[in-house]
Every structure is written in structure tokens, then in C-alpha cells.
Symmetry: D2
């Protein structure tokens, strides 16, 4: 099933980039939460295009319309459906070379999957635009989680060759809310400028650039998740890998574990202020698939945007012949700034689903 | 739900390391397949302990008993349940320090999760032993996939500092079945000896060592998987991250994408012998969450075994006081050889579930 | 999860009677089907209010708007989302006595369920209006099924004391499409007039009246469904009992089996024209939860509409005191005519889900 | 998926009548419950054959073996797997006429479903024997529910022509635990003797007889279930219709609603002792799919056992020719006494799943 996820909190995503509207249904969201509209819109704005030279110049207002599940600004407990109208489709940008499969995109696989009947316009249901309703759903979840004392922060840990510090070495008790207002949120002051330069360098050669995002979730109790198929890592990675640009996910030391000995990798337990904590957090807050009360830390890699202005070799799906493609229109040289709220949203959805599953055990 | 997975093919896992038995139910497996017992037992043997100095000396015969779903050696289409008796539990190895939380293990998180009622003996349901029924289920799936022309191969791509070549540069048409009979399967001849030495070095300092496994799946048609929550990456990573030792998963270039430009990362399409192929395979056979007909390639990191013989700092869950722990008994200094068939099994289960979902579309 | 259903074909329902819109997402619907708009709208019209004196006079245009999954009148294989705007909410009809729990309705249980935060206006998400998107989804499914040779027919088998003949004795090969254009579809000519009189009699005493609907599905192959939890009866009844007015469901002889001996109840097998058939169809086309190729026949009871103009005893949820309620506004004395397309829709959804599950087995 | 059910509490059933063992995995069952072995075994005994002349003389000890999820007689929170060995298979009773499809059984539909590869021996996975693990799972659920103050009672409300009183008119506060020790539990004293005579009369003509079971569940809070697809009626009926012998299910007045006016069918609300109750309970404790705090009452019809000693017309699946069948071996003339604990078990499983879903909302 392509577009549904979740056990306690069921998400159902719909829409194509150039159809009438895109949207999401969120079933199982708790009743009685006053929605923070300002936060919601600011999260949507972080994902929206046109914020800087790095991102595409298209303007998408992306104001969500709640069709159900909200009364007088408060969730009712009934399924929440919210849609975002597609108002700014410039199909002619795409129209000319529509039979040429764009390398790195899902044109070919979507064509096979849907037997040629897919709504291919603007990437159809593979479009990055589909992440807008995800940000919307995630914003509701992170508002709910925040009221339980859970905080999420996400920064660009790497962009091309520019490498930021890591949450693995940072103070989990510090305030990272400043990241929300940065175009390229970083831990190391000033590094965003260098990242911006790297992105502009790619743009100037009609190219694009990838990087790594890192997310930290604090305030989680021990005991979320379950062994094997409901591990915290399974749930979070399932959602992260739903984002087409994500090609790798790691928790705690991640691939760095390959270079560690067990004696270096284990996190020792200690009693601190009457609570069991670990003195290090190599495991990224998760043991055996279950949260241990330490911050959950993960990273994911974002591949460079496949839409580049350089000439590319490809095939015409219409003629079955080799061809050359020049993608016109406006495209992001670096998608990372806009991916930040998407990754946070996915994490918030996963964690809230796990939280509700845990609540059923606590009765 | 901790122990169930899959949509077309439903897997339900049960058992604790020191209970009566461990096992698996596989619901939705096709009728009429003659089970290749020899292949099944050899896959189980690859995962079983005691094969070399690298792995624990415990002998687990691990002969599976089919309780249902098989008649005269052939699957019946009804749910397959197979169990493996726990015959060799030396609980005394664990008994002494049972209140001391083992660092890197799930003792603490399991205790919280199950309110102190969990069957903690030998790791309970977090035990690596639970991967035995997974290998069993995966072997059935890979037998079925092989009859559809699908092949899986998995090697140790890195062990500590020893780095093997990658399937990314290898010939997908070559025969990698030799890997099945290697204790440490590698692409580069002779490298297994160096890996073995690295593992022995860790063992000699009462330590353990981690690494990276790489898997390639060939023979898949284009069109498996679906955008967003049923992406091939989502399904495979969900299952891989169910294995407690896995802390990172990447597809194609994976985290390497961070260092690439879009022009380097895109795979150009070409017509070859009347088929659409890509000239490179940076995407690891997946575009927009859907297979493109090229080999699916992924890597996952295996953390160093947390059970080490060195003295470790921890806490007593009974007294709530700091303590020191010395783990006795027999433990693997390097779990990678035994993890290989587990990772292959998880991949086979994920792919077969996707295959059946696709079949429903083709009618 | 309140509003999601299905395994191969996932339905997600949303909306409240007096919110912005109601709608449905259908995930997993096959690509490439040209939608028969005329059929779709005529099914919606059968459910719509205001068709006769029997049904409420409110006008709901109920024209669905497809937000996604359809391109140039053809399904794309991507999730189909369709909404129906709520344009004619006369909340003042309900407003006055809004704290008085309407007997037979879900006001009280909804209040408990949603902690008082529910959108109660007009029945909220319990409203019969929510069956409009179900009819929409069902119409798409029955269009698809019809192209596979499957036909559904549904008639009012009983209304109050007026009893129609049964499909159990009818010729399955006859053409029942005439039922689609009858306000009260019946098997026995002229009986609809007597039913209409019975309904008017109830209306004239400010009362309402219930009845039984019977549905027959022909053209199904043997082999749909599965033992135990995926039995055809389980799937169909699950969906039928989702309709608030349905309080009983039976297949074949149904409760009549209690009066039969085994020798009378068994359906003998015979070879007819090279096919295995049964000479009778007491089982209603289902053995052991699986279709046997004979017509599937079921009945469901529709309780009398709870909204009646008579004075009723109740409680004020605001004051916690006993009270008397007089429901004003326009209400159906007999909901059966409008329930017919809803029951057909639910059956079509269930059967198509089973069909797709079967297709995955046939590869 | 044939053999898995549940959202919060996942049930996975396996086994064929004449395979090695049958069993069930219960995933999500709470940790820390001391299992009442005596109650468990007595429920299993009620379902077991050979209790009287009414039921088959085969002896099945049916002692369950817990493979996982239980430690020192207490649930651990981990998946519970329990199996029952098949020890008394007299395949020769079936062997002779194995190619002749038994009318009313699933021989034919199972053959189609599983392409002829099914384990057909003794009914395979369609066998009534598969209800043994269901009773086991249900007994655990009803033990858990009882500790929450929930009680279930079930009686034979009709057997052939003999009709018992109904829970609809009974005092919900009375003690119905005596029913557990009756072979044919009834509300009306002495009626079980008349039912027994009716069953013996059927038996004496080599025939079988059906009937109706009625179940009442008291002690449920208001607020369980959800509108539409998670209605209490949907969940309970889904499970009841999984039992091959069940062909009809109704709640409250059920099919009797067809003869009632709205003014007769509505249950008036009143305040009694500070609680909202209904003065009647026509709705069977459920409004809009959600419990209202009144007793949940349902009935289901059990068709007469299809295995009868009379000669029957059928077809040979081997030769494709008409044939005559005489079923030998030992069979129940009346399955109702043994069906009682099965129906109670299904109800307990459904209610506990709903309870846990509700708990997640209450946090």
C-alpha cells in the first residue's frame, strides 16, 4: 500500500504535484489539542520553495485547509484531513520533454509501476511537493509531543565537503530552538555561510549538492518501541526512507560503529540523581530497539537534487530510443534547507506513534 | 506490535532465548513449493554458533520442526509455523550477575518495557537467538525468489579496519554463490584471512569488533515498491533495523551521496538490447522507492558485540546502585559471519512481500 | 483506528456532517480504469436525501471533487482522494437542544469517546452523511468488478411487516439491473407500493420504520477469501457493521439455519457443464469462508431511524439532569431506500479487496 | 491474510487438523498477569470433544504447551505462543473417500484456494479443531478482562425448535457463572434436557441440528470502539464469522429491529445514581459503534454440522465425476455445546483489543 502508515496514528497521504490538491488524513490523533497555527505555518514555510537563491523560485503559498477533525481551532479526536491546493502549476515548464525519463527521478519506475497511467506532471505522487502534507502532519505531532516534554532539533551536519559538529558531542540540555529560524541550521556558528557558498558553487556549474541531516529528540521516556519489528530504528527509518531523497539512515555512532571495539561502543550505566543513565550515548538513545531515556540521535543522507540544468543522457519512453535531456524550469541546487522540516516531521510522526503504543501498555 | 511484520506475507516471531522454543509463523506463503531442506539447513548452520574461534562455542543444533503448512515436503499455502527447541540453555552462565544491566544490551530497556516481568534469561526476546527463525523464514523466501530468477549475495564489506571491495563496482552477472560457503565471505580473494586476524586481535584483548555487510539482489523486475511508505528502502530498512546489532543502513552510494554532485550521482538511462537500463547504479537499483531493474545494493553496519569479557561499569536493577560487571560465559568476538545469513534473510522477506504486492497489481 | 479499512485496497474516511467537507482516500486502486461518471453520480443520487416523501427534504448536491488519483477521467494507480463539500448545513436545526442526548444516536458515546471535544454538529463523524464517500468509493469498486464480470444487486427484502421474496429462491442468471432505478427496489412486482404505504404510516405517527436489505453478488470465481480471519463473511460483515444503522448480518440461510437439519442445510455438489456447482445454495456461496463460485447472498437489518418527531426522554450532557427532547428539522421516516446503495458499496469494497488478495496468489 | 487478526493484540493462528500441532501466537498481551491454569484448562475442556453423546467420541487431551511469553506462570509481555499437539489423528477414518468433496465443508473451496496443495486431512486448516487455540487465547483475554471487572456469559438461546429466554430480558446483574459448568447452558431451568432430546432425535436419524448462541458482556465502560471501521459490531462480527459454522450475527434486537418503530427501538437516557444509563437496551449496549456502558448483547447462528452419516450427492475432485459419499467416523450431531466457549473466546479477544485501543487514548 503506497500511501498509508502507522499503527496507533494512521497517516494517509494523497495528491499529485499538478493535480487539484495534495493532502493528508491523520486518524487517531488525540482530541482536545489546541492547534498552534503560527507554529504550523512556520514549519510549512520552512519547507516551501523560494526562500533563498538556494531553493527554487516558485512561490507556493501552501496554506493548509482543514476539512475535518478540527473544531474552533481544537482537534476533535476524529480523523484530521487537511489539503493544500495546487495553484501554481506551470506544466509548460515540464511539457516539452515529457517523454524523456529524467535521470535520478521516478519517471521510469513510476511509468512501470502504474502501467503508463500515472499522473506524471511535475513528478506526480513522487514529487517533493508531497512532503508538504507530511510537514503539516508532523507539525501537529511535534506540537503534541512538545506538550509531553519532548523536543526535536535538526541541523545540516554536512553539506558537500563542509562538515558541522554533531549532536553526539553536544549538550542535550542546551536550547536548540534557534535552529528553527536558520535557513541552514548548524551547530557551529558561521558554518552556514560556508555551506551556502558550497551550494552556490554547485549552482554556478549548473549542478546540485547533497549532504547529511542530523536530528536529536530529547525528553523521551525509557520504554518506547519494542524488540524486532517495532524497534524505534525500524519505525523512524521506515518513514525517513519514504522521502525519495534519503538514501541512508544511521543511529548513534551509526556506520562509525564499524571502527569501534565493543569496549568503546558500549554505554556504561550509572545512577545519577536517582535515575539510571548512560555515561556515553553511542547507541543514540536506543538499546534493543527501545528508548533508554537518553537523547535519540540519528542522521540521514540527502542525495543531490537530480534536477540539474546540465545536459543528460536518457531514453524516450515514447520512442524507446536514446536521447538527450535538458531540464528547464526552476530547481533547487540544494534541497537540504527544505528537507530539514520534513525529516523532523517524519521523526515526530514515528515517535508519536510509538508513544501511543506505549500508552496502551500503561493503561 | 513487537513481533509481527508484513502485508502480503505476514511474519510473526515468538520465543525467548531460554524458554521452551523459539519460532516463526509465516502467513501467506504460496502453496506448492517443494522445500529445499538442504539449503534450509545450510542457511541455519551459517547462523548457528560454534563454527570457528570467532563465534561462540555453544552448540545449537537448531533443527527446525515444521508444525504446520507443510505436507510431504511441500508448502500447502496454509500458515507455516516452524519452531526450534531451546535445548542447550546454560542459565548458570548468566545467573550470577543477573541484576546487573549489561551495557549495550537490552536488559534495562526490556525491564522498563515489560515492567520487570520479562523473561530476561539469556537476553529473552532480544536475544540474537531470535534471528534463527528469521533465517528459517528468509530461507523459504529466498528459495521462492530463486525460482523467479532472483539471487541474493552478501559479503563482509568491512571488518574493523579491513575494507573489502564493493558490489557497487562488481559485475552483477558474476556468480557469487561461493560466498555461501565462506565463513567470512568477501569479494577480494584472501581478505577473509586478514579479517579473521583482526577479529582474533579483538578477542585477544577480551574485546569485540564490528563491521559492515553489503548485500546485492539481482534479477528483480522494475516496478516493485511504491512511493512513500512502501518504498523498497522503507521495507528493507524496517526489517534490517529489527536486528538489534544493526545501527545504520544505506542504499547505492548511501552516505557517499553527501560528497557527490547531482551530475555525478544521477544514473543515465540507455537502451541496451531493447531494455531500459542505467549506465551506472549509484541509486542502488531504486528510484523514487521503486525498483528500476538494476541490482538492488545496500549496506548495513553491525555494531561490535556488546558482550565482552572486560570489566564494565553498570547499575544493579535490584539495588539501584552502581556496580561492576564481568560477563562470563562464551561470546562471539565478532558477530559478522553469523549476521550474514540474517541480513540476507531479512532482505529476502522484504523483497518477497513487495513481489506479492506487485503481483496483485498485475492480476 | 476509526476510519481506515482494507488490506489490498485501503480506504480512509474523513469528515464530519457540518465541517468543511467529507471525503475518502482509496489507496491501491488499479491504474487505467476509465471512470463511468454517470454511474458514479447516479449511485450518489440514490443515497442523496430528498428523493421522495420518505426521505428528508434537505438537498445535498453531493457532487464529488477528485483531488488526486485521476487524470483525464482515468484512474492513475495513485491514491484516489475525493471530497464532497458540506454546503447546506442548517446548524440551527440542531442548535437549540444541543446538550440533549438523542436516543439511539451516538451523541452520548461520541461524547465519551472524544472527551467532549468531538464535532457533534449534525451527528459529526457518526452522521449518515459519512456514507456518501462510501458510496463513491463503492461505485468505483463496482465499476471495476463489473469489468471482471461481477454483478451486485440489492433489494428491500422487508420493510416493517411487508416481506418481499428472497434472492435465495430467485434465478441468479436473471437481470436485476432494474433495481437500480427503483426508489424501493423489490423482487415482487408492486410490493414497493405497499412498502411505501407502510413507511408513510410510520411517518404519519411521527415515527420511523426499519427493515431488511438483501444483496446478491454473481460472477465471483471460487477461491476468494481465506479460512478464519479473512473469511468472506468476516470482511463483508466488518464493513456492513460499520454502517451505524446495521444491527444484524446473515449469509445464505442465515438465522434460518437454526431450524434446519444438516441433511437440509448441506449443498450437494454436482458436475454441470464441466464445472463443479452446488444444486442448492443454502450456504450463500461461501464454504469455510471462501467463495465456491455460487452467488454470494447476504441480508442485513436496518434499524428504524432514531430521529423521530415524538417527544423522548433523555439527559442533558451539560447539566447531568433528566430532560425531554423534541427533535426538529427534517428526518427520514425510513432510511432503507438510501441505505441500498451504501450496502452495495460496502459489499463491492469488501469483494474487491478479496479479489486483489486472491490476485496476489495467482501471480 | 488468512490467519492473523487484531490491532493492539495481534493473534496469529496456525496448524492443520492432522499436522504436527496447532497453535496460536498472541502478540501485545500485557506483562505480569498470573495465568489461571485451572480456568484455562476448563475452558479448553468445554470445547474438547467426547463430553457426551452429543459430541464426538474422539478424545483430544488438548493440553496446551506454552513455548514463549510465560515465565513462572506469569505473562512476560513478550509474544505468547502456545501449541497443542495433534496426537489422535485417525487419518484412516477419512482416507477412503478423500477425493469426494464433503457437502457443507471447505474441501472444494480449500482445494481451489490452495491449488490442490492444501493439507486436507481432517479438514486441514478449516477444521473445527483450529478453534482450540482460539479458546486458549480467548481464555487468557477473559482472565485479563475479568480483572478489569468485565464478565462474559453465553448460553444456547435456541437449539432446533427449542427456544430459551434471552439476555435481552434478563437481569444483567445476576450471576451467570453457573453456565460455565452446564453442558448446554440455558437461562430457563430444565430447558437443557429438552434441547438434549432434540439433538438426540437428530442423531437418531443420522442427522445434525443447529441453533443460536447468545452472549452478554457486562462491566464494559462507555467509550470502547470507534465510528465506522472500528465499531464494536465490526470487530466482534469479524471474529465470530471467522468460525466456519457461524452464518449470522446480530446485536441487541438484531433482525427484530425490522418489526419495530423508532419510538419502540430507541433507548431513552436517564440519570441513575449519578450515571447516564438507558432505560431499555434494544441497541445491545452499542450506539454508533461505541459501547454506551450497558451490557453488550449479541447472538449468532450455528449451522447444523455438515458431517452427517446419511448418503450425500457430491463430486470426486480426482475424476471430476458425480459420486455418492457416506461419511464414516465419529461426528457431532450438535456442535453447539462445544461452540459456546469458542464464541465467548472470540468476544473476549475482540473486547480486549478494543480495550487496549481505548487505553492508548486515555494515556
Amino acid at each position: 500500500m503506497s500511501s498509508s502508515y502507522g499503527q496507533q496514528l494512521k497517516l494517509s497521504l494523497f495528491g499529485q504535484s499538478h493535480g487539484e490538491a495534495i493532502g493528508v488524513t491523520l486518524d487517531g490523533f488525540p482530541a482536545g489539542m489546541v492547534i498552534d497555527q503560527e507554529h504550523l505555518l512556520s514549519e510549512m514555510a520552512r519547507r516551501a520553495p523560494g526562500q533563498s537563491a538556494l531553493t527554487t523560485a516558485r512561490k507556493e503559498p501552501d496554506a493548509p485547509e482543514f476539512l475535518s477533525g478540527v473544531l474552533d481551532g481544537r482537534t476533535t479526536g476524529q480523523p484530521i484531513c487537511a489539503i493544500i491546493r495546487n495553484t501554481n502549476q506551470r506544466s509548460r515548464d515540464y511539457g516539452e520533454s515529457v517523454d524523456l525519463l529524467r535521470p535520478g527521478h521516478a519517471d521510469y519506475t513510476g511509468h512501470v509501476r502504474y502501467f503508463g497511467f500515472e499522473d506524471w506532471r511535475g513528478g506526480g505522487s513522487f514529487s517533493g511537493r508531497l512532503t508538504a502534507p507530511i510537514v503539516l502532519a508532523g507539525a501537529l505531532c511535534s506540537q503534541w509531543l512538545e506538550r509531553q516534554g519532548v523536543k526535536l532539533a535538526c541541523h545540516v551536519q554536512r553539506l558537500g565537503d563542509v562538515q558541522d559538529a554533531s549532536f553526539m558531542q553536544a549538550d542535550p540540555a542546551a536550547d536548540y530552538s534557534y535552529m528553527k529560524s536558520m535557513h541552514l541550521p548548524v551547530l557551529t556558528q558561521g558554518l552556514d555561510t560556508r555551506m551556502e557558498e558550497a551550494a552556490m558553487a554547485a549552482r554556478n556549474t549548473c549542478d546540485s549538492i547533497g549532504g547529511v541531516l542530523e536530528c536529536m529528540i530529547t525528553g523521551l521516556p525509557a520504554g518506547l518501541g519494542a524488540p524486532f519489528f517495532d524497534s524505534v530504528e525500524s519505525q523512524i527509518s521506515h518513514l525517513l526512507f519514504s522521502v525519495p531523497a534519503v538514501k541512508g539512515v544511521e543511529f548513534g555512532e551509526g556506520f562509525g560503529f564499524a571502527a569501534l571495539r565493543g569496549s568503546q561502543a558500549n554505554d556504561a550505566f550509572r545512577m545519577v540523581d536517582g535515575r539510571i543513565v548512560t555515561t556515553t550515548n553511542h547507541s543514540g538513545g536506543i538499546n534493543g530497539g527501545i528508548t533508554n531515556g537518553m537523547p535519540v540521535i540519528f542522521r540521514c543522507v540527502i542525495r543531490p537534487t537530480p534536477s540539474i540544468a546540465q545536459k543528460q543522457e536518457t531514453v524516450s519512453i515514447r520512442t524507446g530510443e536514446n536521447a538527450e535531456l535538458e531540464i528547464k524550469g526552476r530547481h533547487d541546487p540544494c534541497i537540504l534547507p527544505r528537507a530539514v522540516p520534513v525529516i523532523e516531521a517524519m521523526a515526530a510522526i514515528a515517535v508519536m506513534d510509538l508513544w501511543k503504543e506505549r500508552a496502551a501498555c500503561l493503561k
